[in-house]
Symmetry: C2
Amino acid sequence: MALGSPLSLNTVTVKERWGLAECIEGCARHGIPGISPWRDVLQAMGVAAAARQIRDAGLSVTGLCRGGMFPAADAAGRAAAIADNLRAIEQAHALGAACLVMVCGGLPPGSRDLPGARAMVSDGLEAILPAARAAGVNLALEPLHPMTCADRSVLSTTAQALDLCDMLGDGVGVALDCYHIWWDPAVAAQIARAGSRIMAFHACDWLVPTTDLLLDRGMPGDGVIDIAGLRAMVEQAGYTGFTEIELLSRRWWAEDPDHVLQTMKASHKV
Amino acid sequence: MALGSPLSLNTVTVKERWGLAECIEGCARHGIPGISPWRDVLQAMGVAAAARQIRDAGLSVTGLCRGGMFPAADAAGRAAAIADNLRAIEQAHALGAACLVMVCGGLPPGSRDLPGARAMVSDGLEAILPAARAAGVNLALEPLHPMTCADRSVLSTTAQALDLCDMLGDGVGVALDCYHIWWDPAVAAQIARAGSRIMAFHACDWLVPTTDLLLDRGMPGDGVIDIAGLRAMVEQAGYTGFTEIELLSRRWWAEDPDHVLQTMKASHKV
């Protein structure tokens, strides 16, 4: 394994084969010191049991995936999203997660009102922030690639995320995923601007060609992103934490998870 | 047909069925006053013959697609790209095209050096600009969706295109395609900034779900983009020209071109 930042496994990377207990055991077995669960596997295991096993394994929880998904077609839908986010905050607190990663949501079904959806995101974050602060849970806004704007995240750039941080104040920062931000002409300036608000750093790679908008993300090193360069930028900005590997990939989901973790370690250069 | 801006057919929209002569005849038959040829069909027909038939049909050439594709792995490749762009400028001049649309190119094969590729684009534009000015051919920089950054366009945002315009000066503007810019949180501000430098306005729609990164663009109205809103922004900025329909779509390529043109007209609301 190359020397570098501490590694964290995002559980979605092996979601077809392993539940959370197996992910925790796998991290321990492979010497991966961090883990970032998705809520589906967390809830399947049970939050208390998961918190105990993670603590016993000596792992850091680098994030909980995910809060967000605020826009909805009606007030009841938006209220349901806020209620779900409040449960996510409790879960992040129970795990001692470094942050709750916010995937903010796309356009409501049938809507073409992008500014309106963005306002719903802002309103949703404002609504849950008091609870997050009270619980000591950091909210990490994750800008997602613009190709996800319609259906997953109207939060599209690092600049836009930092504008929200500026507005919302303490307890809100950013989760920066190389896959989502690498193309941005403003990325260097915006990472410098982010400074101490960088709460997570995710690595995966852009494959050429990319054959699916959601499920064809590459193992670091297999694509064209200068991941080392982006890691250097976040370190220059003051972030010294984990590099989390989060792959949504049919190709890697089909592999033996032990092989995936070995490959992650071998590919980890930053 | 709804009242609105004059319509233009980009020939790629019917590329599987019609050559340029049939596109010209089709525009005349359907009362579509503008045409924007790609160079493959232009060269297949012959530039002089095409110019004559377009003039005889009374059509406006709203753009020639395309120049650009500057980044290359070595100096010979970059020189070849410049030579090809000089030929494209001659063709645009011969057609009396409103602009030569620049699709600037992606990363050179094997490269992860995005700033380097962007510098190659800037250098390439500088190299061809004197010839473009001498020929009276406007260069319209087209920012492409960030999902094309690796393999088609490292020019990713309207702001980045306008920064290049600022640097390059007279004779350089932007071609704004709703499909490529709709997601951008800065789009309203950047369209206002563009002002008189808007040389073309392209409409196609973002489908949900989108099943292919290149060939699943939607007919206006079939997706989630607020095309009318973007058209209002460019008009507010001073652009009163054509709305060009450029669909790269396996679904529409499979249709009878007369039906495609009828649908374009029926869908044209801006």
